[in-house]
Subunit: 341 residues, 2 copies
C-alpha cells in the first residue's frame, strides 16, 4: 500500500570549479509506505541555495559534506501522502530538508520536517524564500549581525537574489539609504523597484577599479553597512568605501564558491584598524531564536505590501542541477526554485 516512486539526485562526483551537469546523477527509487513514526511526503517545491556548493567539497564545515551517491539534501515543501506518525495527517503541508527528490518516507526528525500553517495567505513556495530560510537570513543578518540603524547607508551585493532582495527591502523599511549591486539591466531594474535608492550593474564594470568607481558614484559619502553575498571585488570595494565604524555582515561569497585555488583577500584589509570596522560572518541557524519575531514582522510587511518577493522557477526534478548551476551564472531574480509536481 502507498508505495510510490521518486526521482532523486546525488553527486556522481565532486565538482571541481563551476559545477557541471555530469557532476550529478539521477536515480528512481521506490518510496515505501510509512512505518510507525514515519511519514510519507510528496514534495511540491525544492530549493537550490548557494550554500549547497560548500557541502559539495569534502571538508569539515558547519554542515557535513554531501557524500558521493547519497541523495542530496536541501529545503523543500510537500504534502503528507501517508502517515504513521500521530502528529501528521494526510494532506498536511510539510517543510523539511528532504530536497533534491520527489518523495520520501522517513521520521520527521530525520529531515527536520515541520508542519506549515495553512492560513498564511502565502504561496507554499514562500516558505523556501521570503518566509523561510533566505528571509530569516536577511532579517537576522541585517538587523542583528550588521546592527542596522536608521539613517545608515547600506550596500547590498547580490541585491537581486533571494537574500539580497529581502535585505534591500528590510533596510528601506528601517529608514536607510540602500545601494545595491546586481548583474544585468533587468535585475538592476528589479532592485530599484524594490525601493533601492541606487543599484549598479556589476556586469558593466570590467575590473575592480570600475566597480569601485561605479559604487563611489552612487555612495559618494561612503557606507555604514555592507551586506555581503558576493565576496571578492565587492568585499574589497566595501572596505574601501566604508566609513569609520562601519559594520559588515558576511552572509556569503558566491563569487568565490567555485574557486579551485585560494584567492588573495582584499588588498585593503589594513583599513579594518583605522576605520575600526566590524566584520562578522554568520550562519542563519545561529539566529533561529529570531524566528518568531521574523515571522511576525515578515507576515505584516508582506500583507502591507512593504515587502515584495520574486521567484525564478524551473519545472521538474530533472532540472534541479540546472537550477542550482544557474545560481552561479546569476540566472535567478529573487528565489531560485524547482517546482516538482
Amino acid at each position: 500500500m502507498n508505495d510510490i516512486t521518486s526521482r532523486s539526485w546525488s553527486l556522481a562526483k565532486r565538482p571541481v570549479g563551476e559545477p557541471q551537469q555530469d557532476d550529478f546523477a539521477i536515480s528512481e527509487d521506490n518510496i515505501a509506505a510509512p512505518q510507525k513514526g514515519e511519514i510519507q511526503v510528496r514534495n511540491s517545491w525544492m530549493s537550490v541555495d548557494p550554500y549547497m556548493r560548500g557541502r559539495m567539497y569534502d571538508r569539515e564545515s558547519y554542515v557535513p559534506p554531501f557524500q558521493i551517491s547519497e541523495t542530496l539534501q536541501g529545503g523543500c515543501v510537500g504534502t503528507v501522502t501517508a502517515s504513521g506518525h500521530p502528529d501528521f495527517a494526510v494532506g498536511d503541508l510539510v517543510q523539511s530538508m528532504a530536497g533534491w527528490r520527489e518523495a520520501w518516507t522517513a521520521t520527521p526528525e530525520a529531515f527536520m520536517a515541520v508542519k506549515l500553517p495553512k492560513d498564511t495567505g502565502l504561496p507554499d513556495s514562500a516558505f523556501l524564500g521570503i518566509a523561510g530560510m533566505p528571509g530569516l537570513t536577511a532579517y537576522a543578518g541585517i538587523l542583528r549581525v550588521a546592527e542596522l540603524k536608521e539613517g545608515d547607508v547600506v550596500f547590498v551585493s547580490g541585491a537581486a537574489g533571494a537574500v539580497g532582495s529581502a535585505v534591500v527591502q528590510i533596510a528601506k523599511i528601517k529608514g536607510c539609504t540602500v545601494i545595491g549591486s546586481a548583474g544585468g539591466a533587468e535585475k538592476v531594474e528589479f532592485v530599484k523597484q524594490l525601493g533601492a535608492d541606487a543599484c549598479i550593474d556589476y556586469q558593466q564594470t570590467a575590473n575592480y577599479d570600475e566597480l569601485l568607481a561605479a559604487l563611489r558614484a552612487v555612495a559618494p559619502k561612503g557606507i555604514d553597512v555592507y551586506f555581503d553575498n558576493v565576496g571578492g571585488d565587492h568585499f574589497q570595494a566595501a572596505i574601501e568605501l566604508a566609513r569609520p565604524m562601519a559594520r559588515m555582515a558576511i552572509c556569503g561569497m558566491i563569487s568565490q564558491y567555485n574557486d579551485t585555488d585560494p584567492r588573495p583577500g582584499p588588498n585593503n584589509i589594513i583599513q579594518i584598524v583605522g576605520k575600526q570596522l566590524q566584520i562578522r560572518g554568520f550562519i542563519v541557524s545561529t539566529h533561529s531564536d529570531m524566528q518568531p519575531a521574523f515571522m511576525q514582522d515578515m507576515a505584516s510587511w508582506i500583507s502591507s505590501g512593504n515587502i515584495r518577493f520574486e521567484e525564478t522557477v524551473m519545472e521538474g526534478v530533472e532540472n534541479a542541477p540546472a537550477a542550482f548551476m544557474g545560481l552561479f551564472s546569476g540566472r535567478n531574480k529573487g528565489k531560485m526554485l524547482v517546482k516538482l509536481s
Copy 2:
C-alpha cells in the same frame, strides 16, 4: 626669564617603505617662558609607537597626517618648569602629546596635557607604557573588542611588544590559554616568562606554511581569540586556526605599515562565513571610557605582581628616529622609549 632651548624632530620628507634616518630632521629652538594660561614643560620621556607610521603618510585617517617640517607629536612625560596656568605648578608631573622634543611651552589643551598622580609607586615612564596608552589598548582590546572569556585559547602576535606583552598577561589573569608569537629567542623567552603557555619564534619560520605549522603545533585544537599586532601572514594563520565563533581584535598590522604597494589580503577570508568569525578593528581612544576601570585593575595587577612590564630605552632625543625605526626591526622588548634628560 625661563627661556630654555629644546631639540625637536620633524619630517624632512615622507618615508617611502621602511623609514630612514634622513626622513627626519632635527632642529634646536628657543622655548619661551609661558604666557598666561600656558605651561612650560621639560620632557623626561618620550614614546615611539607603531601607529605613528600611519601619520607619516599624507592621507586622511583617524588622526591627521604629520606635516613636513612641523615638529612630530607623540606621548611624553615631563615636569613643569614654569607655569602661567592656575592648575599647574612648577614640579608637577605632566603627560602630554608633545613628544619628539625636549621641552615646550603651550596651553595644556594644545597637547592634551594632564597632571599625573605622584603616589603611584610606578616609574614615570610607565605612563607611556603599561599604565598608559599601550596598556589601555591591551585592556580594551582583549576584554571588550575581543570579548575575552575564561577558558579561551588566545593567540597574540607581537607578544613581546608593549601592547602584546600586556595582552598576554591580562589573558592569563582571566584564566585563558595564551599562545604568543615573537621574533627571536630572547623575546620568546620573555613572553614565556610573562606566563604564556607557548610562544613561537616567527623568525624561525621561512614562510606562511611554516608559520602555520608552528602555530598549529602549539594550538592543535585551534584558537578562540586572536589579538593582532602584526597582520600579514599572522592574520591569515589566525583565520586558518580559528574555531567557530572566534573573535579577532585587530589592533595593528605592523608587518604592513611600510608597504609601498597594496598587499593581497588573507587568502582564506571566505572562512569568515562558515566559522562565523567576528573581526573588529579598534583604536584606543574609542574606548577611553574604560580608563578608570583600567587604572584600577592595572594598579592592582602591578602591585600584586600579576603584571610585569619591560622597557627598551634609548638615551637622548637625538636617538628618537632610531628608536622609532627600531620598532619595525623588532629591536624592542616591551615598551620602546626614549629617555630625554
